[in-house]
């Protein structure tokens, strides 16, 4: 879709956020984190993200993959580098900074995120 060579000056329009949220069961914190994440992604990354929720109570072995200690932990697997945000994601501003999500409300960005919309599967939750 890219038609200009200035890709690194702004986030590539086809850049995708591959997110993984680790939680422990259906605790208050877990639910809050899931809701917060869904809301923030919808608002700022519409059409350009996927979320995988992993419940470590049910899949303890998966904790080793991303060296999970604190819960909830959100792992941004893509774009690289890997980033981790721990906590229930209640501070939206810090989540946005942590995920390195740029505001796409600008005239230029708004159009692009619309284009990407169709390619993105809906977020899936395993709980």
């Amino acid at each position: 879709m890219r038609d200009t060579p200035q890709a690194d000056a702004e986030p590539a329009k086809d850049e995708r956020w591959d997110l993984r949220l680790y939680v422990a069961g259906q605790t208050e914190k877990s639910v809050r984190a899931i809701n917060n994440l869904n809301r923030i992604c919808k608002e700022h990354l519409e059409g350009r993200y996927s979320i995988e929720v992993i419940d470590l109570v049910r899949h303890p072995k998966l904790a080793a993959d991303d060296h999970i200690l604190a819960l909830p932990t959100l792992v941004r697997r893509l774009p690289e580098p890997i980033r981790k945000i721990i906590g229930d994601l209640s501070n939206e501003e810090r989540v946005i900074i942590g995920l390195d999500v740029r505001k796409h409300g600008s005239a230029e960005g708004g159009e692009k995120s619309c284009q990407a919309k169709a390619q993105v599967p809906p977020p899936r939750a395993t709980q």
């Binding site: 680790y22 422990a24 914190k29 809050r32 984190a33 917060n36 470590l56 109570v57 303890p60 072995k61 904790a63 080793a64 060296h67 999970i68 200690l69 604190a70 819960l71 909830p72 932990t73 580098p81 890997i82 980033r83 981790k84 945000i85 721990i86 906590g87 229930d88 994601l89 209640s90 501070n91 810090r94 989540v95 900074i97 942590g98």
Partner: protein, 468 residues
């Protein structure tokens, strides 16, 4: 329900004695110390020995070193952690925390740690747990209030499951640990220290605290060697050794005569003290020669002469040690006292004694070990050597340099069963040597002062003629 304080063997030689049975079962023990003090190896030994000797599988959670690194380091102690994991006697997990890639927003806890620990514990049916080291958590988790609350919960969690745990932490400047872990893990606290004195490194271990239990409060030298970790408490000395009625000749008939005509007791410790050039080595050589001629095995630890020098010098006074060396009955182990640090010296000597299982040991001279450390340190080391040799059942002859006072610099005379002193005696006719038996437990020894000379036929001991 009141419960008696149960203990779990650490599998570390000496530590079980100092802690009167081991670590508190179902509780956390804090092991703190500086970098390189041996915290991880102590903790790993606790797991390995538990798995192999006590049928208690363990879990190792490492926050600092990769499991492969720990496996490699443990291999130097002869531990095969990979094999233990295959046999389901050990589960390991490496929890890496990189502060750089972590941001926090909102509430969280360390449930991930609990889930992983629980999973590992279940996998092998663990009874023992090691968390190494807790400081990395403080570096990785930004909110210390949460971390401290979770640590408290963790200790409670371990207790509920009756898991015996070792938690390691870095030594702090102000308190015992950098982050005050002793506040949470307070049932038993062990401190490891590595000190470098006059360029010689020595490790020390001290049980700082042990709630509800008696424990040794001294600092104990702590060894890390190929055969594992050890700590031989000085206070365990010599009371439980089997006592023998057998006698063995000194190799000098006239000296035997002073000892009821029979010589030393087998398995006893004998001190030969005297100034430089009084003939101590000759008495040692006679003893070694007599023992090997009977077919016994003798270890001669020489700190002042090389093997060839020693053999040549003794040949000039008619003591031919070559056949015994050729037959491997006499093993001369010569090393400069300054060649090693104190710890290595002791480790080496204990190792050689263990390997060779000699019937007879001669240390020439014991006082040379003083060159390897401060008086206090070498004193402790000498005690441990004496203890070890005695436990091994060997008869030991300790030669030591001293002046004309009936007091040894190392304060070991009370540990000696027999003590013979040599001294130079100035006479009008020239320098003469004198010998007498200061003490010899369990026998009616001669209390005469005799003249002592060394000729081409070896040592001669005579009664002093009137008027000489």
């Amino acid at each position: 329900m009141q419960r008696q304080l149960n203990k779990v063997s650490t599998g570390i030689k000496g530590l079980d004695e100092v802690t009167a049975g081991g670590l508190p079962r179902g509780r956390g023990t804090l092991v703190c110390g500086g970098p390189g003090s041996g915290k991880t190896l102590l903790a790993v030994t606790f797991l390995v020995k538990g798995a192999l000797n006590n049928a208690e599988p363990g879990v190792l959670l490492s926050f600092e070193e990769r499991i492969s690194e720990i496996e490699l380091n443990s291999a130097s102690l002869g531990f095969d952690l990979e094999d233990l994991q295959k046999r389901q006697l050990l589960a390991t997990d490496y929890l890496h925390i990189d502060r750089q890639e972590i941001r926090e927003t909102g509430e969280y806890d360390l449930e991930g740690l609990f889930i992983r620990l629980a999973h590992a514990v279940e996998t092998v049916g663990a009874k023992r747990v090691v968390l190494d080291s807790i400081d990395t958590l403080f570096a990785g988790i930004p909110n210390h209030a949460i971390l401290r609350a979770e640590l408290r919960r963790l200790l409670h969690w371990l207790k509920e499951r009756d898991l015996t745990a070792i938690i390691t932490a870095e030594r702090g400047d102000g308190g015992l640990t950098r982050h005050g872990i002793e506040e949470y893990v307070s049932d038993c606290v062990i401190l490891l220290e590595q000190r470098v004195q006059e360029e010689l490194a020595t490790r020390r271990l001290r049980v700082v605290k042990y709630r509800g239990s008696a424990h040794g409060t001294n600092e104990y030298p702590f060894l890390i060697e190929e055969s594992g970790l050890s700590l031989i408490p000085v206070t365990s000395l010599g009371l439980s050794h089997a006592v023998s009625d057998e006698r063995i000749p000194t190799g000098i008939a006239t000296l035997d005569a002073m000892l009821e005509g029979k010589g030393y007791y087998q398995g006893s410790s004998i001190l030969i003290s005297g100034g430089p050039g009084t003939g101590k080595t000759s008495i040692g050589a006679h003893f070694a020669h007599a023992a090997t001629s009977r077919g016994a095995r003798c270890l001669y630890l020489a700190f002042e002469e090389s093997e060839s020098q020693f053999v040549r010098n003794m040949a000039t006074i008619g003591i031919d040690l070559r056949p015994a060396i050729e037959q491997r009955r006499l093993i001369v182990n010569a090393v400069r006292p300054t060649a090693y640090g104190l710890e290595m010296h002791l480790a080496r000597m204990l190792h050689v004694v263990q390997e060779l299982r000699p019937d007879v040991v001669v240390v020439d001279p014991l006082s040379a070990l003083q060159a390897s450390g401060s008086a206090g340190q070498s004193g402790i080391m000498v005690l441990r050597l004496i203890d070890h040799v005695k436990s091994a059942g060997a008869t030991a002859l300790y030669l030591t340099v001293q002046g004309d006072v009936d007091k040894t610099d190392l304060n070991i005379s009370s540990l000696m069963d027999t003590w013979i002193t040599l001294r130079n005696h100035r006479e009008a006719s020239g320098l003469e040597r004198r010998l007498y038996v200061v003490k010899s437990r369990g026998m009616a020894h001669s209390s005469d002062v005799r003249s002592f000379s060394i000729g081409s036929e070896g040592v001669r001991i005579d009664e002093i003629k009137e008027g000489s």
